[in-house]
Subunit: 336 residues, 2 copies
């Protein structure tokens, strides 16, 4: 279409939802991510799809040195820090996966990494942070107490704070998953995203709402850690006193206002699922797709199990965001 | 270097081992393979490497619609058949994985696929061949009886025979795994390859012996299905009366002479491993790398467990060639 003489230049940015994120920056982020975290497998699982009554696309983010998607965001953050004049040190609060990712991306660029975690954090994840050269500080309480401590350290000016989901690099890094899905498949009716702090949901959601706006963006939280989902419904921050879920990777209590705004602009549906459905989802990945997943990676299948009509016959992409589980715990879930 | 006047043109092919395979054709094969089977994850597993006493690189061939590497070969074979004047039908004998791969690659190109299997073949694999649109004929006996039947069908002229490992497309397709490893990593001391019919071993072996000749090419068979390994040692075809191994994907009794010749030119070491080591290898992938593997995929780790000194401190690449197991069988192995 030719622009009409005298009319303003076409505003391509108008097609993007109103979030802090930007498609062009997400495309640039892709260049800053090591090959080991990019261009991950995406394929139809006919067997699992048949069981679930839909055409299921698996997007596998676990076949990398840290077993989860978070390397995409930390690669972007550490790449930008390395070329800045900031301190060559970084700190984050993490239940484990972000900590592993930051330790990996920091070490690759000569940046010292400290990870703050609650004393109840997953032991296997903590061990792997050490193995990747990160320093770990355990604090009383949960991830929210750890976030507070990380902010204190950063406020002293000694380290760059990577606040998951608040930091745009973590969202835009995660958003590169969306680019790969949109570019690699001719149609996706629904994308299923675990909702924790919000980086994965808003990053991938931003890409879909820009390039494939008809795709239903479904972001799922456990009923036992519902703060951001409740905030989305109320269109206003809601917090909770505690969390009670096996999905440790998504268990936050204090949503970030800016992230909620982004989520309001990108998510179409934000269901809460039961713990039993999460376990059944992990069993299905194991039995029908030979995949070991952590609970947060099974939130999408849990959502299908609780509301099959919404997904029946659709082409549904499930992002398998992590596989960091203790083997004995996983075995118990598989046997229950 | 300028060629001396009157001298023959430089013979770059002299750097290749003397096999039926050709590096240029392997490079071309890459173009004929769907993205879904190519450029698979390859990454260091620090946790599993620490346990094994080496720097372990995992090359993951299971995150695709058929859960194994064999799509690489069938993509090449069916792509070439589709552009030929041959029958638009193909037949193969298969314990399951080749059958799934051929059904997938045939359907994508409008080629009818028949798979012949012994009645004892893995039920989950047979079911998946059906799901992918392939026809399955079960015959009395094992894979060798199935091979005979497939040859009969092809001899009638009704279908193109894909004889695994004898057919060069299957070897050169598998060889693309080697290209990805050599191009993606600056050094690999040892590559561990399951040895069944020989396509994977000779395909990847040919690439390494051409582009990275110092790499130790180790091809592993189970002690319960040792025909090709014994042939390699004797430098002459040896057959066995029976096989007795859980590694159904590599259990052949009648090696192919041309493949043995290729293996003699590419393999540096061909150990036989115990069943208990294979099970322990699967347990290690599960516990330390969150991977479900079929027994043939664990032959490499089994070899490390039985001869750790050979691999200590080395950078060792293990090709995870398949994940098609019955969940209940796998669970039993994990618990033993």
């Amino acid at each position: 279409m030719q622009p009409v003489s005298g009319s303003p230049a076409p505003d391509f940015s108008a097609t993007q939802p109103n979030t802090r994120l930007d498609l062009q920056r997400i495309r640039q982020a892709r260049q800053e991510i090591s090959r080991v975290f990019r261009d991950t497998p995406q394929f139809l699982s006919a067997t699992l799809g048949d069981v679930l009554g839909c055409e299921l696309v698996i997007k596998l983010e676990t076949a990398n040195p840290i077993g989860c998607f978070k390397g995409r965001g930390t690669e972007v953050a550490m790449s930008r820090l390395a070329s800045s004049s900031g301190p060559m040190a970084a700190v984050c609060a993490s239940a484990g996966n972000l900590g592993q990712a930051l330790a990996y991306s920091g070490r690759a660029r000569g940046i010292a990494v400290s990870v703050i975690a609650g004393k109840g954090a997953n032991a296997a994840k903590i061990e792997r942070i050490h193995r990747l050269g990160g320093t770990v500080e355990l604090v009383d309480g949960d991830i929210e107490n750890a976030r507070e401590r990380a902010r204190e350290i950063a406020a002293r000016g000694d380290a760059f704070l990577v606040e998951d989901s608040e930091n745009l690099d973590t969202c835009e890094g995660a958003g590169t998953i969306g680019l790969e899905l949109v570019e690699g498949l001719d149609r996706i009716d629904t994308v299923l995203l675990a909702l924790g702090g919000g980086a994965l949901a808003t990053g991938v959601g931003h890409v879909f709402k820009t390039l494939s706006p008809a795709t239903d963006v479904v972001c799922i939280q456990p009923r036992g850690a519902p703060a951001l989902a409740q905030s989305w419904r109320a269109r206003s921050i809601a917090t909770t006193d505690r969390t009670d879920t096996i999905a440790d990777g998504v268990a936050g209590r204090f949503p970030i206002a800016a992230v909620l705004d982004d989520l309001l602009a990108t998510a179409d549906h934000v269901p809460l699922v039961e713990e039993a459905s999460i376990v059944e989802g992990m069993r299905m990945f194991y039995r029908h797709a030979a995949l070991v997943t952590e609970p947060s990676a099974a939130l999408g299948v849990a959502a299908i199990l609780e509301d099959p009509a919404r997904y029946r016959g659709k082409r549904v992409a499930a992002v398998i965001c992590g596989s960091n589980v203790l083997p004995d715990t996983f075995r118990a879930w598989m046997q229950g």
